[in-house]
């Protein structure tokens, strides 16, 4: 890759991380939709989905279970921070091994901590999966304990926003809540899927402000992302949580949705 690429120089781009199962990336359409939304927000034109799909198909063949990573940058050029008027984006498509997570993360749940690093408010960048990820890097650097799977990140108003690599849901009195992401955070593909599933299950859900205490006092907590689907939270610092009925119902509905190129 060029050392003049704006992806390197400014983090001027976007990425997607897709689950690959049985030779095919999952939730392709949804990932492409978020990528396009990100390109539109950053003003990056000229990304060709057909080329991404051809790259993806070639890389995913014969992969039973893997991770497909797509990076789009604004490419080289422009003067300083100012982008060039002509868009010539860089396309990077990589295949990686699926991470070695304990199967108990799904069956029993995970231990979670609370990160010290606070997310800055940035409505113009909220929701999209851009390449400016130092906040997540700093938050993920806060702990070494191998049995702590994730850390919750708060905003400057002390509301919970997300995990370093996951979205967060809580169940309280049989209702589902997830943090509002208009000021910061990444809108996960599975996050959207869970909201749809809840509706189909007749479980009311809301995107709202959630304090750390709201999360601690929840009946159930679970985490989502494209690679893991759903991990129940069994421990948040000193608080413990048993297996949750709604978490289980949502996870069961999510499982078949994982199959095939959904497009």
């Amino acid at each position: 890759m060029s050392c003049q690429d704006r992806g390197l120089l400014y983090g001027d781009g976007l990425f997607e991380t897709l689950l690959v199962v049985d030779g095919a990336p999952r939730r392709w359409r949804q990932h492409m939709q978020r990528l396009k939304e990100g390109c539109s927000r950053l003003g990056i034109g000229g990304v060709e989905e057909a080329k991404l799909r051809a790259d993806a198909e070639a890389l995913c063949t014969n992969k039973a279970r893997a991770v497909l990573k797509i990076v789009i940058t604004r490419g080289a050029g422009g003067r300083g921070y100012r982008p060039s008027a002509q868009s010539d984006p860089t396309r990077i498509v990589q295949i990686h091994p699926y991470p070695e997570y304990s199967s108990q993360y799904w069956s029993r749940g995970v231990k979670v901590r609370v990160c010290q690093h606070r997310l800055g408010a940035n409505p113009a960048l909220a929701g999209i999966k851009h390449l400016n990820r130092l906040e997540q890097v700093l938050a993920r650097s806060e702990w070494d304990e191998p049995d702590v799977a994730e850390g919750l990140m708060l905003d400057s108003g002390e509301n919970v926003v997300e995990g370093t690599m996951t979205n967060v849901f809580v169940v309280k009195n049989k209702r589902l809540y997830t943090p509002d992401l208009t000021s910061c955070g990444v809108k996960g593909i599975v996050r959207d899927g869970v909201i749809d599933i809840a509706e189909n299950l007749g479980v009311s859900s809301a995107e709202t402000e959630l304090s750390l205490d709201d999360v601690r006092q929840a009946d159930e907590i679970f985490l989502t992302n494209s690679l893991i689907g759903i991990w129940p939270v069994m421990q948040l610092e000193r608080c413990t949580y048993g297996p949750g009925l709604i978490t289980q119902q949502v996870a069961e509905k999510l499982a078949p949705w994982n199959n095939g190129w959904i497009s």
Copy 2:
């Protein structure tokens, strides 16, 4: 450069932009000091100044006037956002032509606008020159007018923080003020130099909150960075400013300080 480099994937790194005059980069020691502070804040170890200096010397030879760019990233490796325990940073040193700025930017001053994009608060990242620069890219994308040299960026509290590529100073009643940068913004090398110069001139200076109206109502406004030194502001949207005495005094003192490898 590797497509696995964390500089590309997460903006996980730092940069410095140095003025080169008569075959030598200026203010080397100060740039290295900020780079080290940035590495310390991000937990990037193993950067060798001697190698950077050797690269710089080789690139700068025979350059009458140019721009030296240094990029340090955390390198490849680690699992997701989590950095690897072993630090193996990437070192990139580039030489670029000096930008073609009109000489009137120094002699008469520049026109400046106010950007719509607001800077997010991020104390852990404030001050250092890290690679997460989407905010500056978005702000600099807001205008095309070739006669507008810079845009002021405000925080979510509507206080002025900096320009997209410069620091901001104002003079009011013969005192010098510049925005406090504890929540966001980059601490420029020339910004520090100007504060020292003001002290030597007997001009009191303060790092403080400055509203847009404070800036508009100032007697003098000027911008600083390592490449330009000082540009007076002659116009901020509808407000105009004449040549400023303190701006001129500071600029005169800054000029000789530009000479030689200061180390």
